[in-house]
């Protein structure tokens, strides 16, 4: 097992290098640091001196790939590629364009993100699975048909409307919880309710429909027929046999997204003013802070790859037929 994991991690390395190259190309070759400086300084008629000071302040004044002036090994290390891209591998994110330490910010903002993402995931899972199970229990009736119509309709509504609607209904009309903001400690609870509810409701449509197909796939299997032939009740068949087997694809799907929970929910966080990583990213995009965007791209890819490995491992854990090779 550990040999397998090690090998998978080694496979991940070239992928991360690829990600790094793509971002490097996007951020430094397509547009020179001069262009970025001009954009940041915001004026068309900025002097070359102003651009040079900005670049020097932010460490963009070095050559891109090869520094001919420095001798020996430093000719490779004293470059933008090394300073800005390769250092990401050591999770050394450097400073944002506004001068803050990105690593520190990420550690701080991780917690609010998780505080929203984990309850949303768990509550969403519980509701979706039980709803899907109920639909399957009443399959081929009007409850089934009506639910599917409802789910498709829910899927067809943009997430933005759930957020706006939730904020308007719960926050503004009934004054139950604050509309947006965040606080530390237990005080945060009242700020968390609304984003979690909105996140859960927005996700019900697609996930319940997906789980319903998982259940329906299982329900036509031979072992289910055997269980019925034994004289088991429908409830026992559903809960003891179908649910357990259908949980395999559901859980492995969840495992794949677990690491990405760190990244936070982009839109929900920025809408509700939660200082998590999602709103951090959005703010960075709006402020055009390239360092943060670059760091988040790298972090996201790392987490995605971890998710892939975890999925493979979880398959072997829940389904003994699958062997790691």
């Amino acid at each position: 097992m550990s040999a397998y994991i090690l090998r998978r991690l080694l496979y991940a390395l070239p992928i991360l290098i690829g990600v790094n190259l793509i971002t490097f190309l996007l951020f430094f070759v397509v547009n020179s640091p001069d262009d970025m400086a001009r954009m940041q300084l915001g004026d068309k008629r900025v002097t070359q001196e102003a651009i040079d000071t900005w670049k020097a302040e932010h460490g963009y004044d070095k050559p891109l790939l090869y520094n001919a002036e420095a001798g020996g090994l430093t000719s490779l290390t004293d470059t933008i590629f090394f300073e800005k891209s390769l250092k990401l591998f050591a999770f050394n994110f450097g400073q944002s364009d506004s001068g803050r330490d990105i690593g520190y910010d990420i550690r701080q903002r991780m917690w609010p993100s998780l505080a929203i993402a984990i309850p949303t995931l768990l509550v969403g899972l519980a509701i979706s699975i039980s709803y899907a199970l109920m639909i399957v229990f009443f399959r081929a009736t009007y409850i089934d048909f009506g639910s599917v119509v409802l789910l498709v309709a829910m899927m067809s509504i943009s997430g933005l409307f759930y957020i706006i609607g939730g904020q308007f209904l719960i926050g503004k009309l009934f004054h139950l919880v604050p509309i947006s903001g965040y606080d530390h400690g237990l005080e945060a609870l009242k700020f968390l309710i609304l984003p979690v509810v909105v996140g859960v409701v927005a996700g019900i449509g697609s996930s319940t429909r997906l789980y319903r197909t998982f259940f329906l796939e299982e329900i036509n299997r031979d072992y289910v027929r055997t269980a019925r032939a034994k004289g088991l009740r429908e409830r026992a068949v559903l809960f003891r046999h179908v649910l357990r087997n259908a949980l395999i694809p559901i859980l492995t799907g969840v495992v794949a997204v677990l690491p990405l929970l760190f990244m936070g929910a982009l839109i929900i966080e920025s809408f509700f003013g939660v200082p998590g990583l999602g709103s951090y990213t959005i703010d960075a995009i709006n402020r055009q802070d390239f360092s943060i965007v670059r760091a988040m791209v790298f972090l996201g890819s790392v987490l995605y790859i971890i998710g892939l490995i975890m999925t493979d491992i979880s398959y072997t854990l829940v389904d003994p037929r699958v062997r790691l090779s």
Binding site: P14, I15, G18, V19, I22, T23, L26, F27, V30, N31, D35, M36, R38, M39, V152, A153, M155, S156, I157, S158, G159, L160, F161, I164, Q167, F168, K172, L216, E217, N220, L260, M263, L266, I267, S270, T281, I282, I285, N286, Q288, F290, V293, R294, M296, V297, G300, S301, Y304, I305, L308
Partner: protein, 513 residues
């Protein structure tokens, strides 16, 4: 003078591809059968009619041209016909310009001098603005701008202003709208007026529908070699193979709705006006093209790469497979939103630094739309590529492929003749399934400011600008509601159609149910 924007050209390419594929599918039973099944499903047909309605509007909005500036009649400036024509054209130029600047008056005046030049009367002069056929059709809606917000069907502005009374005193109140309900002497007659106009529109819609229906039934009767009455009654009782009754009812609904809307929109702002006084109904209609372009062009852009690479990876295996797998794993491991954000940021940097390359705002917005499609395509081709790789891996081992190879048929021929036709159904399912997701993605991306150009009409931009107004009391809800209704209808229809298409093409599901 016609103008072909890049996305327009690609839309025409897409239509050509679609027609070509349709002709191909019609001659091949394994593709024709499932489509026939889609055509027999009432839900599928209803969704198709709705989508065709949207596509029609989108196509009208894709025929762009520089409007002709009519020379001002020099002999009789007082002639009412000439006056109104001149006003209309000026208004046209003015409105397009207003998309980018709120200072419409100045821009409108700026457009005028060119047309007043006497020498211009000899040969036609064209405005520098680009408008579409839809704009021309809706020029009434486009020109009737108010000062700022007004509620749907309102006759008065939504915000109070200082109004000068006839006796010279100034009071604060809600001034009458310049256009919405301006034909009414007394705003209290509004209800009756709306009802009458609505009924009139409904009658018009029904007449149009009846005309269409009669032609359709007559054509079907010819094809079925029946009398007109027999086919009409078969359709009425729902006994036809294809659900013509459903198609005709949905068509009736859509026609009546659009005629009522058209009738009412001629004298009211049926969905209100936004902050700069633009008609929200007009914005919603213009947004249709943006949504459709994002939903379809993205797939068109990604298809060649996904199909070629996916099949190559599966068919050739070995080193090719490794490289292609590496490529798509790398791309898919970057979170999509961040990749799009990074790419759009870079495009913005490029556009601010090379502003002189873009002749007009419309072209700039159009290029950004295309770029967004490409980037969305880059992030979304990996799923299809993986599916195709798996399928061609399986097909490579099939007997007929092995036989062809051992007979010495060239690889390209094997792929073209044996592999590609057998994976087409996967391509089709993916195209249809992706559409609704892409339309929804546009709204979210525009909200984060990494979507389409802010000057372009899109549902995302409508939501984005409207959400800031929710804090007002009473709430300005109509922009949101309009974007919601238009988007929901399209996405729901697309989702329902996708379900039907998937059921028809996926043999595994067919046996399960």
């Amino acid at each position: 003078m016609p103008v072909i924007l890049i996305t327009d050209a690609l839309i025409f390419v897409l239509i050509a591809v679609g027609i070509g594929f349709g002709l191909y599918a019609a001659r091949h039973e394994h593709l024709r059968g499932p489509w026939r099944q889609v055509g027999r499903s009432p839900v599928g047909v209803a969704a198709l009619v709705v989508i065709l309605f949207y596509v029609g509007i989108g196509l009208l909005d894709s025929l762009h041209f520089h409007p002709l500036i009519e020379p001002v009649a020099q002999t009789a400036p007082g002639a009412p016909a000439d006056q109104s024509a001149d006003g209309q054209m000026n208004g046209t130029a003015q409105q397009v310009a207003a998309e980018s600047s709120t200072d419409q008056g100045a821009v409108g005046q700026g457009e005028a001098p060119g047309s007043r030049d006497p020498s211009a009367a000899a040969e036609p002069t064209y405005s520098t603005q680009i408008i579409s056929v839809l704009d021309l059709w809706l020029s009434g809606l486009r020109e009737r701008q108010e000062k700022t917000f007004s509620a749907p069907f309102a006759t008065q502005l939504f915000v109070k202003e200082a109004i000068e009374q006839s006796d010279g005193s100034v009071i604060r109140g809600y001034p009458r709208l310049e256009h919405g309900g301006a034909h009414l002497d007394d705003p209290s007659q509004r209800g009756v007026d709306i009802l009458l106009r609505g009924l009139f529109g409904m009658v018009k819609g029904l007449i149009a529908w009846a005309g269409l229906m009669l032609t359709l039934v007559a054509m079907l009767a010819l094809r079925w070699r029946q009398t007109f009455n027999d086919s009409a009654s078969a359709i009425w009782r729902g006994e036809t193979e294809a659900p013509w009754r459903v198609a005709l009812s949905v068509l009736a609904l859509m026609l009546v709705l659009s005629f009522v809307a058209a009738e009412l929109a001629a004298s009211y702002h049926i969905l209100g006006t936004d902050k700069v006084g633009e008609d929200v109904f007009y914005q919603s209609l213009k947004s249709i093209r943006t949504g459709l372009v994002i939903g379809t062009l993205t797939t068109l852009v990604m298809l060649p790469a996904a199909v070629i690479l996916g099949i190559m990876a599966g068919y050739f295996g070995g080193r090719t497979d490794d490289v292609i797998q590496y490529l798509y794993t790398t791309l898919s491991s970057i979170p999509g939103v961040l990749l799009i954000a990074a790419a759009i940021l870079m495009l913005q940097v490029y556009m601010t630094n090379n502003a002189e390359q873009f002749e007009s705002l419309v072209e700039r917005a159009d290029l950004r739309l295309l770029f967004l499609c490409i980037i969305l395509g880059v992030t979304s081709w990996t799923g299809l590529c993986r599916l195709l790789r798996g399928e061609s891996l399986k097909l490579r081992e099939a007997d007929y492929v092995q036989a062809a190879r051992s007979l010495g048929v060239r690889n390209s021929t094997v792929i073209g003749r044996h592999i590609l036709p057998n994976v087409l159904h996967i391509v089709m399912i993916t195209v249809v399934l992706d559409f609704s997701g892409l339309v929804l993605a546009e709204a979210v991306l525009s909200y984060v400011n990494i979507g389409v150009d802010p000057t372009m009409n899109s549902w995302g931009n409508m939501i984005n600008s409207a959400r800031l107004e929710l804090a007002r009391d009473p709430v300005v809800w109509w922009s949101l509601a309009a974007a919601f209704v238009f988007m929901f209808t399209l996405v729901l229809a697309a989702n329902l159609l996708a379900d039907v298409v998937r059921d028809a093409f996926d043999p595994r599901l067919r046996s399960a149910s």
